[in-house]
């Protein structure tokens, strides 16, 4: 293993995703707390050029992201898969207005889940997003999260599309103990 690879391995992927969001000039972050995204949420919260908004329920974030774009800023929505079902009706603004959305979704109920109540929504996450015409881009390797978010950001902000990057539970190890 080269020094560079060893260094990259030591660094948690959330730092690289955060760097991608900074390069993309993301200014609004809407999130519902999640173990798998905790590192990224902390980095965003610590950045005084990003406005991080904690939500009471996930659909608020979809509406806020639409407002951010309408006001001329870029945003990112961070959520656990369990909250995707809450977002369905709100996502109609992305489709009807063709407003960009960059969502990063941390999976539960998927890879090695030990907690049974997470399985129904986890297994429905991709289907629900696709039903709401959100483009789904799954990633299941830690060293590919940042480049997937970077590609998704272009599709969102430059091509005006709604994209969800689905971060596998294989990466986050969320829910191994239920």
């Amino acid at each position: 293993m080269t020094m560079a690879k060893a260094k990259a391995k030591a660094r948690h992927w959330s730092h690289d995703v955060y760097a991608v969001l900074k390069r993309a000039d993301v200014r609004q972050v809407a999130y519902v707390p999640d173990g798998g995204l905790a590192g990224l949420i902390d980095l965003c919260n610590a950045d005084n050029k990003m406005r991080s908004v904690v939500l009471t329920t996930e659909e608020e974030g979809i509406a806020q992201m639409a407002g951010a774009w309408l006001g001329g800023q870029r945003g990112v929505f961070l959520t656990q898969s369990g909250g995707i079902g809450n977002c369905i009706n709100m996502l109609s603004i992305m489709q009807e207005c063709r407003i960009p959305l960059l969502a990063i979704v941390s999976m539960r109920g998927q890879w090695g889940e030990a907690f049974p109540w997470q399985v129904p929504m986890g297994q429905a996450t991709t289907a629900a997003l696709e039903a709401a015409k959100v483009i789904v881009q799954p990633v299941d390797r830690a060293d590919e999260v940042a480049e997937t978010v970077e590609a998704a950001a272009r599709l969102a902000y430059d091509a005006n599309r709604a994209i969800a990057v689905i971060v596998s539970q294989r990466i986050t190890k969320n829910g191994e103990r239920g």
Binding site: G67, G71, E96
Partner: protein, 201 residues
């Protein structure tokens, strides 16, 4: 408790008059409407590129407006919505109360009914107090407006008081004619964004 679902007497304000009065002093404010009659109320004062008519996403108006307000900190952002729409996204008041955007004001036209679907009574008809919820959520100032002198007294606060500001205006269920405003989201949203940012695309 049988009386809980009956309306209190003496509501005198009409929603169209209230909105005409508020928007006549809008300055450069952005206006985000909730779904339902609020769309037509706002459009009745003249179509404007700075109006974002949300003819869907019930419960989303306040959070769309928060996103706009954070992106446009020097511009007043005014939500015009109904009690039914606000109730559908009531958690938004808590989120906005935490964020405390100084340039955001929410005006709820409270007819105590779901006006677009046949005037079935809403929770406010049973006494749910939206002003108290907003105050408890951390809004900087709130008002309950029940008559024209109250509306006149609140006008400066609606447009200029550091927010987040929240007002409930008790209105009759009577509406005005439906306006032929564009419901095409791609058109209305891009027109609005260009008006906000001064640039196309």
């Amino acid at each position: 408790m049988a009386a809980r679902k009956t309306k209190p007497a003496a509501i005198t304000l009409k929603r169209r008059d209230v909105i005409t009065s508020i928007l006549s002093q809008r300055g450069d404010a952005a206006v985000v409407t909730g779904i339902g009659n609020a769309v037509h109320d706002v459009a009745s004062c003249g179509d404007d590129a700075r109006n974002m008519y949300l003819a869907g996403i019930m419960g989303g108006a306040s959070m769309v407006a928060l996103g706009v307000a954070l992106a446009q900190p020097r511009r007043r952002v005014l939500v015009i919505t109904g009690d039914g729409e606000l109730l559908a996204g009531i958690g938004s008041l808590l989120t906005i109360g935490v964020e405390k955007p100084k340039n955001l004001a929410i005006v709820v036209l409270d007819n105590q009914a779901f006006g677009a679907t046949g005037n079935q009574l809403t929770h406010t008809a049973a006494g749910v107090d939206l002003v108290a919820i907003a105050a408890a959520s951390g809004f900087a100032s709130t008002a309950l407006i029940t008559d024209s002198s109250g509306l006149e007294a609140a006008m400066a606060d609606i447009h200029d008081r550091p927010g987040p500001y929240f007002a409930v205006v008790k209105v009759k269920t009577v509406t005005g004619p439906r306006l032929d405003v564009s419901r095409d989201g791609t058109y209305v949203s891009r027109r609005f964004r260009t008006a906000m940012t001064g640039r196309e695309g």
